[in-house]
Symmetry: C2
Subunit: 185 residues, 2 copies
């Protein structure tokens, strides 16, 4: 951030009075500009004994498999965002069950939320965001071609929890600037 | 947003190629500027049979009682943010139990997360953000002087769930532009 989005004034990066962190403050109109983490919302879409995965058509991690998820937009709930992303990436409709994983990905300032969700029908197709879309059984999951560690973790939780038919909320903190990911709760 | 924060160029508000929502796009450097919901993180701090509340020293809702909570910052997890806010607003230390409420507050583009948390000692004090800080039993809660509907809801959940000593995740969607808040899950 180099210029004030309000007035195009120059900015100073300093701690405002009564605050504890440096912010971009406009030298001209004095507006304080905050930067905060973003929410990634998505789901683990289940059809019978299979999980729906999408092969990413865009960077980062183009060509790797992922669960449908993306940036939450203004004017929607996290649930609506999860359904929208599944529609956009896989042309699939899901019924949301409940929040299944929540991960603070500290080094990229993101909070990722994945809902457990069910598909009534095996209907899905590729999109501008996905090179391939497929249902995978546990044995078929391309474990070495998954896009992100959080996706691998969510799938690992799912297949383990399925044995007990109990899918509690899984909360984690990942900070790649630390040596080890930290199990939070 | 009137000017590009990168180059101070003028902006056009239109749908980028391959996108589905209008964004601010710089006429000069072509940067696309996204706006996304922010995370509010906080907790329900419990000491024995009481809950810690703070009387807000700042707008909005100055002079009304609330649970310690605020905007999640970059470079922290939602849990760390909840503990930090409790420290800043009430000078109190808490041990986080688990995520207790998550609410998409759609009309203000916020996702509020409140953790159930416990205090080892009844140690707390006012701060620049809180005019008063007090522990309240169920009978003492100032129900008509609570700052926000989500705070009232979290406290209502807590006292109801305490009867069964079972505190499951409570997920809600609130959209004040709709006629009725919608129970999500």
């Amino acid at each position: 951030m180099n210029y004030c989005p309000n007035c195009a004034g120059t900015l100073t990066f300093s701690i405002p009075e009564g605050d504890h962190l440096p912010r971009h403050i406009c030298d001209n109109c004095n507006t304080i500009h905050y930067s905060n983490p973003k929410v990634i919302t998505g789901c683990v879409p289940i059809y019978q004994d299979k999980v729906l995965l999408c092969k990413r058509a865009i960077e980062p991690r183009k060509g790797y498999w992922t669960l449908p998820a993306g940036f939450m937009e203004n004017n929607e709930s996290t649930l609506e965002g999860a359904m929208r992303e599944t529609r956009e990436e896989a042309n699939a409709e899901v019924k949301i069950s409940h929040l299944y994983t929540i991960t603070s990905i500290v080094h990229v300032n993101q909070v990722q939320m994945l809902y457990l969700a069910y598909m009534d029908k095996p209907e899905y197709s590729i999109s501008s965001e996905s090179l391939e879309v497929e249902l995978f059984s546990e044995e078929e999951i391309p474990w070495d071609e998954l896009a992100f560690p959080t996706i691998k973790k969510a799938l690992t939780y799912y297949f383990a929890d399925r044995k007990n038919n109990h899918f509690p909320l899984r909360e984690n903190v990942v900070n790649r600037s630390m040596q080890h990911p930290k199990e939070a709760v």
